[in-house]
Symmetry: C2
Subunit: 263 residues, 2 copies
Amino acid sequence: MTDQHPSTPDEALPGEPSGGVRRARAALGRAVRSTLPGRGEARRAEERTLPEATVARLAVYLRVLSVLAEQGVTTVSSEELAAAAGVNSANLRKDLSHLGSYGTRGVGYEVAVLVDRIEGTLGLTRRLAVALIGVGNLGHALAGYGGFATRGFHIAALLDADPARVGERIAGLTVRHSDELPAVIRELDIAIGVIATPAHAAQDVCDQLVACGVTSILNFAPAVLAVPDGVDVRKVDLAIELQILSFHEQRKLRPGGPLEDVG
Amino acid sequence: MTDQHPSTPDEALPGEPSGGVRRARAALGRAVRSTLPGRGEARRAEERTLPEATVARLAVYLRVLSVLAEQGVTTVSSEELAAAAGVNSANLRKDLSHLGSYGTRGVGYEVAVLVDRIEGTLGLTRRLAVALIGVGNLGHALAGYGGFATRGFHIAALLDADPARVGERIAGLTVRHSDELPAVIRELDIAIGVIATPAHAAQDVCDQLVACGVTSILNFAPAVLAVPDGVDVRKVDLAIELQILSFHEQRKLRPGGPLEDVG
DNA sequence: AGTCACTTGTGAATGCGTTCACAAAATCGC
DNA sequence: GCGATTTTGTGAACGCATTCACAAGTGACT
């Protein structure tokens, strides 16, 4: 049935559902107060609260737009862009309208403008420093993964608790011991922590990150992390993704499925 | 939003059996309700369509329950389980109620029963065969990643388009050439395809998988896949996860952020 | 200028998912 | 047996997200 599952959580997942960002807010309606200066600025819209689902899709649009830009496309309609991103065009338009009015009726959107706006919105104009903790099987791959560096991020430090791994050079970086985490965070101004440790170590590492002021964490360990309010955790869990697929796989085989309606 | 419990350090840390959660009550009562459904109709519920978000969470509950089971916990309340899984307890109860009525009022849920029900629902009783296409940086790590095999899955084949990689042995498997994909799928009864190729190759591989009858795909390539109805695609995109964190990171710095609530 | 074809931006409608709140079990103590 | 206590299961309320549908803006062409 479903073409494509959104994340989540989210997405969620889990994440949204997927996961999804666990963010704690003061739980009361719309904590959007802010400076509230009369009505003036039209560009205020870009900064205010964006629906979580929209943020996730903006990143997708950005990727598609980059490809289009490379191909020399300068203008794109919501219909085209939505198709390429695998979403409904009305949905896309509403997403973009949250950033302000950057399209031209009858024409479409200028690719370059859109790229700029989205990058600005996602805060990709400055490169955030990422620390990767856990240089095992998966962490090793992540360290070398080009996709990280391509846009807006750079891995600034690798850490591991295993003394045997400390000193190893991976992707131009030397692995340091986990004990140095606080120092590393301060020295390198780490904004994002990526946890790729075994599950049993994840909460510990997480606590350390939080204690050192890191408020954005990407967790690859198969564990549920508890964090205080104000800390964002996103979870990537391979086993869970497979299990979700397994569920649908099973459903396809079963009687009573989409095509069968017993009387 | 999602009500994440502030870092209660003694919550349910895997390594820490510190008092609290551990509950070892004797498993008596009507332990064997499952064979003789008291109300008769409970069987039906397990097959009906489950909300997508619920499926994703079931996988999380399963993981938490496994940890509890290892610790010798036999009974758990929705409140406890929800806390350990990072969700609202009413949400959890509703999720579980979709599988039927397997709790006992005034007592809670039997861990073992719940594990069984969830595994059954997710179709984890049979091990599905997974083919991994693309044995580059990330694919290599996935092949060796223990988390895959741990429950319900086994990687049955590795493939790559690069002749230089064909023949290499990874995690007990020999890498075969992508051209053999159709043969591999038939021979090994592949149910799930995992794509870990570069972005430009992903759609091609996807099309081949679909053409060979695979209807469940996990995509690690940074590309949007187009698939026909009836095919499930789940996407794991590291760059997008980081960009979402980046957005929230930026928001925290801005005036009007969550911490600025003073009059 | 006027018409036509096209596309954005957005109110309204709909659907989905989460949370609340409470009645209905179940157990325990007496 | 009965009331106190606990906890499930669920109807109802709520909030967020998606989709629909269309008015309004734009350019092209005559």
